[in-house]
């Protein structure tokens, strides 16, 4: 029997059509078009484009960048979450807002700030030049910009969860003689491992896919400072559409795998991921 709060059959059908249409038009079609364009000249053309030396070095640079940025933000996230959830201290809410700050900064501005720090006309520019250290238009700048845009991901997953969990278990362990590190490894880590994985997953997806911030600091030197997203831009602007979409489809695959793992984690370990999540 229909409850009074139920929508009519017509309204249901209409809203489901609108939803499927809207998501299909704005999300599914763009995703599909990446793969169809990559395969426009057959799969071997796409694979050839991926095998180009410039593509290979872009893939390597992206992996290297993520391999540096993600672990650093992981350590920071754990440290910040331990600090915020296990102790009471003044200025905590200010600290929490500052941790979230990079999310509200435009990607281009995130790159710009490092150019202003380390660029030729920047604060440290002359000193760096005298000591022959390159940050902007080199790997360190790319890594720094990537760390900036992915800064809050892990911290943000862990803080609400660890705050909810409190500190009773850790205090018990320490009182019984465990060291701080043992306590973290044996008591805290098992409680937060799925949330940690969730944060790392999102952090990694953004680190490998970041475009705006990295674009400002990279200098677009082919084979040297082009990450995968930047290589997509270079190929696209060169009218090498198959190549551009072939590299793009690798990134799209990464996005799909990320979404699948994210859904799995949300579904399987809902209670062990931060309380702020739905389900």
């Amino acid at each position: 029997m229909r409850k009074p709060a139920d929508d009519s059959l017509f309204m249901r059908a209409l809203l489901i059509a609108v939803t499927v249409g809207y998501i299909g038009l704005f999300l599914f079609l763009p995703l599909l078009t990446v793969f169809t364009n990559a395969l426009a000249n057959g799969i071997s053309a796409a694979l050839d484009a991926l095998g180009e030396p410039d593509s290979i070095s872009a893939i390597k640079l992206t992996l290297l960048t993520a391999a540096i940025a993600v672990p650093l933000n992981l350590v920071f996230g754990v440290s910040a979450a331990w600090l915020v959830s296990k102790y009471d201290f003044r200025g905590k809410s200010v600290l929490l807002s500052l941790i979230d700050l990079p999310f509200s900064v435009s990607p281009v501005v995130s790159g710009l700030v490092y150019v202003l720090m380390f660029g030729m006309q920047g604060w440290l520019g002359p000193w760096l030049r005298d000591h022959d250290i390159k940050i902007i238009f080199a790997l360190p700048g790319i890594v720094l910009a990537t760390i900036f845009v992915t800064f809050p991901f892990v911290a943000r997953e862990l803080i609400p969860l660890m705050t909810d969990q409190g500190r009773d278990e850790e205090e018990a362990a320490v009182t019984l003689g465990a060291s701080g590190f043992q306590t973290f490894l044996r008591v805290t880590l098992p409680n937060i491992k799925w949330a940690l994985l969730y944060g790392v997953l999102l952090c990694n997806a953004r680190a490998m896919g970041e475009f705006g911030a990295v674009s400002v600091v990279s200098g677009h030197i082919r084979g040297l400072t082009n990450t995968m997203p930047l290589h997509v831009e270079v190929l696209y602007n060169d009218y090498q559409y198959v190549g551009a979409f072939a590299v793009a489809s690798l990134l799209a695959l990464l996005a799909i795998v990320t979404l699948i793992l994210k859904s799995l984690l949300e579904w399987r370990y809902a209670g062990e991921i931060a309380a702020v999540h739905r389900h």
Binding site: L27, L31, F89, P107, L230, A248
Partner: protein, 283 residues
């Protein structure tokens, strides 16, 4: 028992705890935060003033800069409103109804969070180009999306879509159907119930989600530049102008635009927080 924390100079700041690591985590967290976020942002805060106040104002009120800021803010506002309307319908459908493929549609909502913006950019550009799947049929009606401000808005709709849906979904799921049933029992039509009972309880989350989508869209770069065409005064967004100024070695001019955008995003976040605390104070 030895404790690093209690012997640390910050001990006065806090209530004592037996857990070790306060000094270590505080030190590392503050160091990392300062090095990665605060110092670089300070560089941005200070740089434009090399121009002096009048130079700063001149840099910002330049015709081309104003046009770019208007497009970034205006386009973001239109995209946020479109997402507010359709995002609400999507969230409602995904929570309340069952249909085949629902899980898939639901997972797809997060795509803009996971798909690199450059990939979204070239995909949208290919879709709406004159010979694209959507560009070709649209051109039959004389509608041009790619390389116009409309293209900018399409990209900003893409990037802002998850914010409204993901903010509303938990609120709709938590909403009890009792109030709706009561309204219906008392003779309200379904439309009246939705307008008078459902919509007001969704309003706070809707404002937050729309605000977040707006804030994200204002600064968006990667998904926009491929489809925008980037014609100065017409379809050139503010973040792109920052990059153009940097390429011309106009660091102060770039920093001036960057500072305005940073200030704007702070204001949006601040207003949203203020709005939330006003709401919770009223309850």
């Amino acid at each position: 028992m030895r404790s690093v924390a209690i012997s640390s100079p910050f001990a006065r700041l806090r209530n004592p705890s037996v857990l070790p690591g306060f000094g270590l985590t505080l030190g590392f967290t503050l160091f990392y935060l300062s090095a990665i976020v605060l110092l670089p942002l300070a560089a941005l805060l200070l740089k434009p003033w090399a121009l002096g106040w009048s130079g700063f104002v001149a840099a910002i009120t330049d015709e081309r800069v104003m046009a770019a800021l208007k497009l970034s803010f205006g386009g973001a506002a239109i995209a946020a409103i479109v997402n507010a309307v359709f995002g609400t319908l999507v969230a409602w459908t995904l929570v309340r109804y069952r249909f085949p493929g629902k899980r898939f549609v639901d997972a797809l909502v997060d795509l803009p969070f996971a798909l690199p913006t450059a990939v979204a950019g070239i995909a949208l550009s290919a879709l709406y180009a004159q010979n694209g799947w959507l560009g070709e049929p649209l051109s039959l009606f004389g509608i041009k999306v790619a390389y116009t401000p409309a293209g900018v808005i399409v990209a900003l709709i893409f990037i802002g879509l998850p914010f409204v849906v993901r903010t509303l979904q938990p609120v709709i799921a938590d909403m009890s159907e009792d109030a709706e049933e009561a309204a219906a029992t008392l003779g309200a039509t379904r439309f009246q119930t939705l307008r008078r009972v459902v919509l007001p309880s969704l309003a706070p989350a809707l404002v937050t989600g729309t605000g977040l989508a707006f804030a994200r869209a204002v600064g968006e770069y990667g998904s926009v530049i491929f489809i925008a065409g980037n014609l100065p005064m017409k379809s050139e967004i503010a973040p792109l102008l920052i990059i153009i100024k940097l390429q011309q070695y106009d660091y102060e001019g770039a920093a001036a635009i960057g500072l305005v955008m940073l200030a704007a995003s702070f204001c949006i976040i601040l207003l949203l927080n203020l709005f939330q605390s006003l709401l919770s104070a009223r309850r």
